[in-house]
């Protein structure tokens, strides 16, 4: 059995007196996708931010390829070079064109030669149907296009692991599909991912493992269709029932 790309051991995180994550343990194997679902405020974003070392955990351990990245002597910049993160609100840099957004990290962080970075970036943009937007500024793009550029921007650095935080929740239903199909493509190419999402249909398609997060704890996990169709815990049932009522299942 291959070593886990990402492994969390009893991770805990609090903001002041509010405990946001507690006793979080899971593994993500290479080429696999772990999807987190859960109500708003259950701690999904915080979990991803902790993995990316944007927030500091209070206890437990985070291992990336076996290396303890939660150790005190770890340089976060070095760790983040191996991780790609995409946010709910795209966060493209508005003063740069699409192309400049994509090549920023490769040229400044990975120190790839500019011509080479541009070639690679254009290839990626081409692959995801955004080649003709290369010289546009982000505010000229639709939300779905912006989010796809954000995904491409984090792919351009060849990350070991991709963290996607509710990347479709700021989009209308039509745009959601184009972004989701991009993620499906990545999955089929073998990208290792951790996702947080409200899209249950999508979760079922890409997840190798589904985790239901409730008040900062992983309450239920396993095969996505099992968790979604025959949940064991009453909280999971309740959550899925509410989603069903809202027409999101």
């Amino acid at each position: 059995m291959s070593q886990a790309v990402l492994q969390l051991e009893k991770v805990r995180k609090s903001f002041g007196s509010e405990v946001v994550l507690e006793d979080i343990s899971f593994k993500v194997l290479e080429h696999k996708a772990t999807v987190f679902i859960g109500a708003s405020g259950s701690g999904k974003s915080t979990l991803l931010r902790c993995i990316n070392l944007l927030d500091q955990i209070d206890d437990g351990q985070i291992l990336l390829d076996g290396q303890d990245i939660s150790a005190a002597n770890v340089n976060p910049d070095e760790v983040r070079k191996k991780l790609g993160m995409v946010f709910q609100s795209f966060n493209l840099f508005p003063h740069m064109t699409v192309l400049e957004n994509v090549i920023l990290a490769p040229t400044k962080v990975q120190k790839v030669a500019k011509e080479k970075a541009i070639d690679e970036a254009l290839e990626l943009l081409d692959k995801f149907g955004l080649r003709e937007k290369a010289d546009q500024y982000p505010d000229r793009l639709s939300g779905g296009q912006q989010q796809r550029v954000a995904i491409i921007r984090s792919l351009a650095r060849h990350p070991r692991l991709l963290l996607l935080d509710e990347i479709t929740s700021a989009l209308d239903p039509v745009l959601v599909n184009e972004v989701l199909s991009t993620v499906r493509d990545l999955k089929s190419e073998g990208m290792t991912m951790v996702l947080a999402t409200h899209e249950m249909g999508f979760a079922k398609q890409v997840a190798d493992e589904l985790c239901y997060l409730h008040q900062g704890r992983i309450l239920e996990w396993g095969d996505p269709s099992k968790v979604l169709q025959s949940p064991k815990k009453k909280e999971t049932k309740e959550f899925l029932r509410r989603l069903h009522q809202a027409g999101r299942l």
């Binding site: 910049d77 993160m85 966060n91 840099f93 508005p94 500024y137 000229r140 912006q146």
Partner: protein
């Protein structure tokens, strides 16, 4: 460059220029609408011209026919005399111009440094951060004239060897001290308006703290504060006249010397006109930039 201009021309283009491949010509309704708009614009222009002519004409007439007009004209607007001494005042104004360039450059650099210090979170910089805060608080709160007097007369009074007694240098120093405090605050406010998510995105891409500042935060911040900074530049140009109090022969001082000789105030008016010739175009340009940047900010998020 080409990209930028392409972008703004996009925005300026009227919607009627959109071409969807087919040959399009305006419909009857659109033509009628354009005709009505043109007629309305013509009428507005006519009304504006007429009312301006009436109001300004009346004001002028009242002024010229008033009993004191002759004396007023001879004391303030003796143009022949004004042009005679103009070279002296212009020579003085070169001092203001030089001072503006030197002070402006120094202020930009020092202001930026202070703003960066105040927004940094590095623990090693804490004492400097405190000093910077005190500095800004103090010099934003004192009238600049006082700073000029303190520096210009105070430093020579110390009689320290090696320190300059040159009033021009000391005056410039005083201007730099005061304006750096203003400009630092403007730049700092710009840095604070860049949303934290931009920083998070940059850091998550692996950019270091410094790279994030250099490539993501500062470009956005400086773009946003350019209009207010230009405003400060206009203020700086006219405030350079304050160093005349130290005896520096700038445009104001040159005018004062002439006035003292003849007891005619036309030299002051000439100096004022020279300042206006520089500041008014700059102000207009600043206004335009402000408007453009406002429109740009509002265009964001429409997508």
């Amino acid at each position: 460059m080409a990209k930028k201009s392409g972008r703004s021309s996009n925005r300026a283009a009227p919607s009627s220029s959109y071409n969807f491949g087919g040959s399009w010509s305006a419909s009857e309704i659109e033509l009628a609408r354009r005709h009505a708009r043109r007629a309305r614009n013509k009428k507005s222009a006519l009304i504006a011209a007429l009312s301006s002519f009436l109001v300004l004409g009346t004001l002028g007439l009242v002024l010229v026919t008033s009993p004191g007009w002759e004396t007023l004209r001879n004391t303030f607007f003796k143009w022949a005399y004004g042009f005679e001494i103009l070279p002296k005042i212009l020579l003085g104004f070169t001092t203001n111009a030089t001072l503006t360039v030197i002070a402006g450059t120094s202020v930009a650099l020092i202001g930026l440094a202070i703003a960066l210090l105040r927004t940094s979170r590095s623990p090693a910089l804490t004492p400097f951060r405190i000093l910077a805060t005190v500095y800004v608080d103090v010099f934003r709160g004192i009238p600049m004239l006082l700073v000029i007097l303190l520096v210009g007369f105070g430093i020579p009074a110390l009689q320290i060897k090696g320190l300059t007694n040159n009033v021009l240098v000391l005056g410039t120093l005083a201007v730099i001290i005061t304006y750096s405090a203003y400009v630092a605050e403007v730049i700092r406010s710009g840095i604070l308006t860049v949303h934290p998510s931009q920083r998070a995105a940059a850091r998550s891409l692996g950019l270091s703290n410094f790279q994030t500042l250099r490539h993501v935060v500062l470009p956005q911040a400086l773009k946003r504060v350019t209009p207010p900074l230009l405003n400060d530049l206009v203020a700086l140009i006219k405030d350079t006249g304050l160093v005349s109090i130290l005896g520096v022969t700038d445009a104001v001082r040159a005018a004062q010397i002439q006035t003292a000789k003849t007891f005619n105030y036309t030299p002051y008016v000439m100096a004022a006109i020279i300042f206006l010739l520089v500041t008014i175009p700059l102000t207009r340009w600043t206004d335009r930039m402000l408007r453009n940047s406002y429109e740009r900010e509002n265009a964001v998020g429409q997508a």
